[in-house]
Subunit: 250 residues, 7 copies
């Protein structure tokens, strides 16, 4: 992209270009892809699954401290893709808001309420002069007491929407195409726990065109039929079992 | 539009160009059209109807979470066209103000009072240095206890005015022409509930030159004769019924 | 006007050009004319009359919600010409100040006191860095308990002065010439209610070189002999009657 | 004056040019002359006289609302020349300060105290970043309980000094020359009330090379021998009488 | 790097470049290497070791006041590499936060909690307009009551992660390669106190290709088997002993 | 001086040029000389003398209101050279601080304490972004209870130092040379009241190469042997007497 | 240094250049040398000595008011080299902090605590947008109750470190070389009072290649064996005596 593309309108957060665009927000979307990772989330019958690549930058890093999956409340977690330092700031804000909500109202924050709140926060950063937008895409997964499994995605522009399945990161386009095809043949909404987890894993494998080891991915679930509806990151053993099941099925 | 068109006067919100124009505000109007949608609202005898296209960005999105129609109070809703993240911020502000009003004065906020308040908010963003204007056009629909059905439109410049029928978005010009012609032959103000809804739907069909499915549009009504004067988004069944009626009538 | 005319001194509100000019203020005066309307106010023996064009932007707009005449207090109203969103902000400020005054001192704010206050507000916007001036010209009309009928005009620079008759907007120059001639032959100050209203209407007709329908203009009066000295916008019937009287007289 | 004259140092209030000049302050002095008026003040034995041109911009303006002479306290008034909107802001500030002084200390503010205060205010505007200097020259006239008649002039730079006689505005140079010559032949300080008023009027006539009507000037006096030492704007009759006396004397 | 590389996007902290990069943050990483030092930290079975070069700028400097190793709490210290003035500011902030934590919760701050807090602080400096990021890389070493030895590294971007062993500074790349190879042959996690200290020292020797004297390095340890789990900077005698052991072993 | 001399580093108060210079402060020194006056102060055995030119800008100015000598406290006055509006602001600040000091501590502020305070104020204006430095040089003269006669000079950079004798303004260089020579032949510190005053006057005469009238200069003294150690501006009679004594002596 | 050297990165305090440098801080170091002075401090067995040149700008200046040596607390003083107005601001801040410390904790502030505090202050000025760094290098000398004699130097970047001996100013490089050589042959740490003072003086003489008079230098000491461990500026007599001793010894 040549320097003149934004015509100077991209140096300030708060101004529109003559075409009505906000360049800084568009550049923040690029920052999301800068991590080089791809993430997928799937909403099944009584389960939500979130999966992302786990790339440990070098072999000296303690793999247990590298994660893009964060528990926010008992039934609710986020999968953050993009600039990891921004991701942690987003997680801290979400946790504080969720705790405040529980303290004020006496019950856990619903998934859509937290999503709307985060999206509103993001929108403000596109409108005021003194801060840049966050360079992350945040997928919220959880189970709502009334509405059941829920997947929402909030972007740097402050937009959020619910999904049957979605993806984020460098291969977002390819992942979405794959998920749509899959959803057409076997709707995610009818899958049980095992099918959902395996569908998410094999979707990521197919998009990246590689076979994982369990240590190459992170998988988190919230399920009515497992773990007491709690946001749980799967252990390597369980991921391995699913990988084997996928390999055998194919 | 060439870069030099604003001559530098368009980089700052708070200054006039030598012709007395505020470029940033004009660019915000372009942002309204950037969503690619067209919206229409109609004020009938005892009913207001708001209709807009429902474009689900991809098939993975949960259609129930994609909407441009928002209930603000029992008798009052808004149809927001433009940058969707800004739209949600506007909706949040309106809901807060409506709730505050009800708390302070003990009755629901009248449609024109909320419109004036929102317009004043927008005007301030065109005059101060530290925020950009909202990139949305907000159509307020509701029923006033004294004045009956009401349709107002607030724009990014902070202007608002009442309408018999109006439109916003990418085909605003064509829609207004269509509505004016229609209003001349059969004034909207004399239509009953069914006629009003069907008039709004067929107006959108005619402007976009396509036949909808029920899932392609969102329709909301506030009607004295239906739903207890409550802001109600029509179900797909009812929309389908109206579409059939339109098709048969033609 | 070429770009270089302001030599860069016109990008900032708070600085003088080498000739001692404040360009931003001058551009705000252009914004007043951007509305394309012309307004006239006349101060007669016991009556003040304010008249402006009523251009409903399209036929779908509810004409009752389009107005440039605003009541501020019982005996006092304003006729605002220019950027309509700014106009509404000015009206809101004036109403608040008038209400505060009545609450503090126990009687209605005099016309000249409100004018001075508004002018002071405007002056500040030409001197501080963080806001632009309002793009409107405000004509205040009312009846003072001691001084009788009063007409003041406040401009974007913060200047205000009293008038026998005045005008604002795109044909201000022509209107003033017409009014001066008229005032010389028949001083406005000696006219009674009917003559004053008709003088104002025919002045606007003559400046615009067209014959109105009643719906093409808005007329407001404050009169000792009518409506109990209350700021009143005339109904279409009365305007029509005056138009007929004018036509018959000529 | 070419654009480069200030070399960019004139775009900011708070910085010195390499020659130690403050360009914005110098430009403010030009703004004083932009009004096209000339003012004169004279300090006589027991009287101060302030005179300025009264140019009613058009014949529709109520001449009684056009003035550059403002009473600040019983014994004290100002004659402000320059940007009229700034003038009114200065007057409002002076009145507030004078009232506060009287409230705090129980006696009227002395002329020199108010002058020093206003000058200090002006100085601050030349030193801080967020406001421009006032574009006016303020002549204070009044009678001090101890020091007798007093004339001070405060300029946009924040300088003030006392005068036997002084002038401001577009013909300041010529007026000062005339006054100096006059003061040499007949010192103002020895003139009684009538001589002082007529000296001021004929000085203005001579500088402008025209014969006034009473309505072309404004004259204010504070005199020990007249009006109870109160700041008084002379009526047209008295001005006319003085004009006749001048004409007869010549 | 040529001047145009950042295309102007690198002059402001808060904005993204068109590629979604934050240049100021990237430049801060270069500042880390500006000190010319290399640091290494190793996490062994019951011990953490931090080692860095000790370059006394000239011989007049009291060597005891030159250090990059700072005790934060009893069980916890930091090894800061980069701009030394920034380092001291970081240390002061960490100490205050650790003291506050102990005061509030009654026990010592865990290593990962302090790391997350510091990383969040750093992230904010990449997002707000009024401060630059710190030009330092902070390695935290300590023993957690539950998790045992811990090594975290926080960078200027606000990212932090746990390590088996890590390095920072001008030869970070070479040091990491060396440590990875070493960790593969003999995992650090299985080393006892003596082996761990000697592994850290010989790693630094090998990366810098020189043989140290004890006075050329600083070594700090926190060990379950030594010094009562307290952050301790080794004396020259002990370092010398280890150097001898290394030399004999080779 | 060509425009490029400051290379852009002179447009901001708070930044250093590559040579470590603060251009704005240097330009403020030029502003000191812009008044065209020269001032001299002398510290004698039991007396301090301050003398400056009195240039009444035109003959209409009341000479009694033109002064650069200001009493701050009983025993202490200042002689301010440079931009006169800034001078008055400095005087106001000094008076307030002196009064506050007396109120707080119960005795008059010592000369060096006030000098240090003013210098600190000036220094801040060279370091912060929002104000320019004062364009004046302030010479403080007074008698300290313990230290006797004192002369200090504070400059726009915030530097202050004590003097046997000093000068400021357009001929500062020449005056200093003259004073040094004089001080060598007859040290000021040994002069009595009459000799000191006459030495100061004849120094100014010699530097300006002209013979004064009493009305051409202002002379202030604080003396142990005269006027009860009070800051006193000499009357024209006494100055005349000294001028005669000088003329006779030569 | 050519103008382009900083490539624009040197106009703002808070940003890094692409090489990770902070230009404004580097320019502040140049400002330190702008005073043209050289200072030396030496830490002996039970004594610290600080010496600097005393250049009285002209012969009219009272030499007793020219100093770069400031007492901060009983046992502690500073030797400030660089922009003298900044120096005084630094001294004021240090004195306030030392007094506050004594008030809060009941004992004198240790030398290293004050040094750390000042360095932290300096660091903040390199990181925030609204102030420039101080243009001074501050050498703190004092005796610590536990650690004995102490010499610290704080620079504009916010770095501080302890020294056996150090120097600052225009000949810093040469002085350090001289001191290193001297320290090698006869360690300062073993010198008694007389030797230390004479070593400091002769070091300065040798660096500047000139023989002083006592009035050309300022010498301050804090010594366990003299003056009751109090920061003391030596009188001319004592300095003279040391100069004689040096001359005789050579």
């Amino acid at each position: 992209m040549s320097r003149g593309s934004g015509g100077g309108y991209d140096r300030h957060i708060t101004i529109f270009s003559p075409e009505g665009r906000l360049y800084q927000v568009e550049y923040a979307f690029k920052a999301v892809k800068s991590s080089g990772l791809t993430s997928i989330a799937v909403r099944a019958k009584d389960t939500v699954v979130a999966i992302t690549q786990k790339k440990v930058p070098d072999k000296l890093v303690d793999p247990s401290s590298v994660t893009h999956l964060f528990r926010i409340a008992k039934h609710l977690g986020v999968l953050v893709t993009g600039m990891i330092a921004d991701a942690k700031a987003v997680v801290t804000k979400c946790r504080e808001h969720a705790a405040e909500f529980r303290f004020t109202y006496g019950y856990e924050i619903p998934v859509d309420v937290l999503s709307r709140w985060l999206a509103d926060q993001n929108q403000v950063y596109t409108q005021q002069a003194y801060m840049r937008p966050y360079g992350v895409s945040t997928i919220m997964v959880g189970i709502d007491e009334e509405l059941g499994p829920q997947v929402f995605k909030c972007d740097p522009a402050g937009y959020f929407v619910g999904y049957y399945a979605t993806s984020a990161g460098v291969k977002e386009q390819e992942a979405n195409t794959h998920l749509e095809k899959k959803n057409k043949s076997t709707p995610f909404g009818e899958m049980d726990y095992d099918n959902a987890v395996q569908a998410a894993i094999s979707a990521l494998q197919s998009v990246l065109s590689e076979d994982f080891k369990a240590r190459d991915v992170e998988v988190a679930v919230v399920s009515k039929s497992k773990f007491g509806e709690t946001f749980t990151v799967l252990g390597n053993d369980e991921v391995e079992a699913h990988l084997t099941a996928i390999a055998e099925r194919d």
